[in-house]
Amino acid sequence: MEPRTLFDKIWDAHTVKSVEDGPDVLYIDRHYIHEVTSPQAFLGLRQRSIGVFRPEKTTAVADHNIPTTDQHLPIRDAVSRAQVEALADNCRVAGIEYFGIGHHNNGIVHVTGPELGKTLPGMTIVCGDSHTSTHGAFGTIAFGIGTSEVEMVLATQCILQARPGRMRITVNGELSKGVTSKDLILYIISSVSTSGAAGYFVEYAGEAIKSLSMEARMTICNMSIEMGARGGLIAPDEITADYLSRIPSFNRNPEAVSLTENWLSLRTDPGAVFDRELEFDASSVPPMITWGTNPGMGMAVDGKIPEADQPGPGGNDSFLKALEYMDFKPGMKLLGYPVDYVFLGSCTNGRIEDLRAFASMVEGRQKAPGVTVLIVPGSQQVARQAEEEGLTEIFKRAGFAMRQPGCSSCLAMNDDKIPPGKYAVSTSNRNFEGRQGPGARTILAGPLAAATAAVTGRITDPRKLIRVCD
């Protein structure tokens, strides 16, 4: 048989039917839903008078618009409250498992799924959220869909989907001290651009990827969408197996051992052909920040904003518009630039490892005066673990408070908005205009650079503050 890619193996195994010169009918193993992109899908089902086809394959959380303080109280904003209540009702009627606000399994949909052992290698996974690509870290085909497609999955457990192209990004070598997987993915995106992988599904490979923890791999796959890719995945290996073996629900599965053995053979055959291949050297990746209004507008933390963008339809206009919005100038350096807010959280960097990284930098230091810092754990489980490991205490001593889990300032649907004109160093995934609130100016970075900004009040190179013994 022809050598095949990991992506093709999973896709083919889930193709119910190929529509001639059309999309494939793809079967979905796991469907995650949340309050913002699901209500109209349930409404559609009611209008068609049909029920949910396989409710046991869907899991719901409230995460996008919920407050991150006083979660025991009713949500103050009436429209948000109605949306969360609609989700709870829809799940109850359909028999869908629902982890609402305050539930011990609640959190950001892409943080809780893997934690609870619901994301498993070889699966097809969708959610009405573009960062569903996160789950690709487990060797799954996982991608974001629109609400009509959410309705398709609820109605039939399938969606219509054209097969994307195959792309492989190989990262050789080793990341330097003070450089995180967030820096690596920002580096890759800044090199391929925000649309550079459009039409492709990316497999990440190479020594640098293989040496990453599951959390770090999730950060990489999470941001695949920011270079336009349909999704990204990494072949399962011992690190994947080890992560899963620590999940209680997975361990109770009598087939855990044989499943794990199968997964370890899930990989791209030698000689399989990709439509596009890129290679990077991890050792040349610096700590990264963004200077513009899309995630492709990134540079080394001590680098310079470009002088101009390539001309194209709207090219330089978009470049100048971005700089005007950020109030930066072409060719400017940002090292030492003062910032107003720091946000640690989101489905990109709201996991326990990210909190540990942040804590390692702020321990024994103090929050800079004048900086507002939001530390938002990705889930209740992350919050509990941070407490047990003493991270919460380290934050407290350094002058920071931890909030309750949710998407929070990543998209600022709740009260966690960055005020107009203010600069925020954020570990989230998008620096679009107004993403963190109308007029907010977002500088994307990894958890270490976020921590150094929190204690210095400025854009600071984390390599300068990192402790030698770390």
């Binding site: 001639e20 629109g146 009509s148 457990q157 989907q161 998209l411 649907m413």
Partner: protein, 200 residues
């Protein structure tokens, strides 16, 4: 359920020649709390269209009286970012029936097709020309013929074929929605599940 059919569209255009317009710009997150599909059009491009006091920003294209019509002529990688279908609902609710660009973000393209909004992809050079000509003469009429898969503008002499897969095209021409197509396949899906050892 059936949707409005798409056959031939003839209209003036609204030019928005910016690259990488993301769905957060098309419809900001703070307007996503509704639970129905209606009325998103009034907040389309909200923060480019209105200032913080709710006054129209005069030079934004939607506020310029010389431009109007049901075709949006956009820049590269239109609709990137969040998967929110609200972006498509907002564009369609505002009155657009087609978006022309040289490239679309994948999720946006699917969302558009699922809502009867036609994404038309034309070569970059053609797009720059078209945008420029609309700028010079906002009255130019563009004709999109889905059956023949061709986009033309008599005033400028433009005539370009565009690609769309035949399944999607048939759905748009007939107004059949894809969800009904899948629902009609449920027995086949059950067979597939059995072949894998049951729905579990």
């Amino acid at each position: 359920m059936n949707r409005r059919k798409f056959t031939i569209l003839e209209s003036t255009c609204v030019p928005l020649p910016l690259e990488n317009v993301d769905t957060d710009q098309i419809i900001p997150a703070r307007f996503l709390s509704a639970t129905s599909r209606e009325e998103f059009g009034k907040n389309l491009f909200r923060d480019w269209r209105y200032d913080k006091n709710g006054n129209e920003i005069k030079d934004f294209v939607l506020n310029r009286p010389e431009y109007g019509g049901s075709i949006l002529v956009a820049g590269s990688n239109f609709g990137c970012g969040s998967s929110r279908e609200h972006a498509v609902w907002a564009i369609a609710d505002y009155g657009f029936r087609a978006v022309v660009s040289d490239s679309f973000a994948d999720i946006f393209r699917n969302n558009a097709l699922n809502n009867g909004l036609l994404p038309v992809e034309i070569p970059t050079g053609m797009l720059s020309d078209l945008t420029e000509q609309i700028g010079a003469n906002p009255g130019i009429i563009v004709k999109i013929d889905l059956e023949r898969q061709i986009i033309t503008a008599d005033e400028t002499g433009m005539s370009v074929p565009f690609a769309i897969n035949s399944f999607r095209k048939q759905c748009l021409l007939s107004g059949l929605d894809n969800i009904s197509f899948l629902v009609n396949m449920r027995s086949r899906i059950i067979e597939y599940e059995k072949s894998r050892g049951g729905p579990g």
